[in-house]
Point group: C2
């Protein structure tokens, strides 16, 4: 929708996407879905696409450090993976349900089931590698695992 | 300890380590620490070494499929990482606390904090890659994250 005159006039070929020096501009905010305890089930657990969730809090410096990279991957993989974030302070249910103990926690879901997780301000390349793994192996990991029925354990 | 006459008489060079066709023999059982809800805090959360935990249940076929590999890595990395397993049916507290929803779930801890997770009967090579990543980046991930105080959220 943006005018072409805003595009790079030098027309250089860019082999790699540039890393953002600053957080993504407001126009890009829509690449990240904002999760809440209320829309969690519909958006994550019933999603047919893989979902990448960043559990964060506004006061967590490591979260601010990682968010530009997470937004970048959200744009890069928007056709195949839903990228979302959840504020753990205002939405404690989902964070507690999935045992999130620190922020940022990056959790990947396939067929509504958690398949991989990474915690902390990690090297962005490691996070990207996990995104790629989920794309290749995520469905299979979700299938090749046995869901726990917490009612059986008497701990529901 | 096995007699050499049992080894492959063809003496072919094997570029890859042979995959175990059967679970590790009883003599090797001691490479895996058996966790319970009671020894969890001391063994995992207060460990100075990284800890790799396999959450399993006796009835989970995917767990039986993965265990020989997990035991193999336990032997290979025994100097640097504590490998342990926890039966989620008899020890629901730890599984619930860390949001384990399916078995097998492989969870890695550094300085007592969860840093990475992988779920399901994954390719053993992926699991091993995660072990290596935890060795290189685990301490840093634990440091570069903000612990959540669930009492603040009112959800403790």
């Amino acid at each position: 929708m943006m005018a072409d005159k805003d595009s790079n006039p030098a027309q250089q070929s860019a082999p790699e996407a540039p890393e953002p020096a600053v957080p993504a501009p407001p126009a890009m905010q829509d690449t990240l879905t904002e999760l809440t305890d209320l829309n969690w089930e519909r958006t994550v657990e019933k999603s047919s696409r893989p979902v990448a969730v960043m559990f964060y809090s506004a006061t967590c410096a490591f979260c601010h450090q990682m968010e530009p990279y997470f937004r970048n991957y959200a744009r890069e993989y928007k056709e195949t993976i839903l990228f979302a974030r959840l504020d753990i302070l205002t939405n404690p249910w989902a964070a507690e349900r999935y045992g999130v103990r620190s922020t940022p926690t990056f959790k990947f879901f396939c067929d509504g089931k958690p398949v991989q997780e990474m915690v902390g301000a990690v090297y962005p390349a490691l996070l990207k590698k996990m995104v790629e793994e989920v794309l290749v192996h995520g469905k299979e990991c979700a299938k090749n695992s046995t869901a726990i029925d917490y009612e059986i354990t008497g701990y529901g």
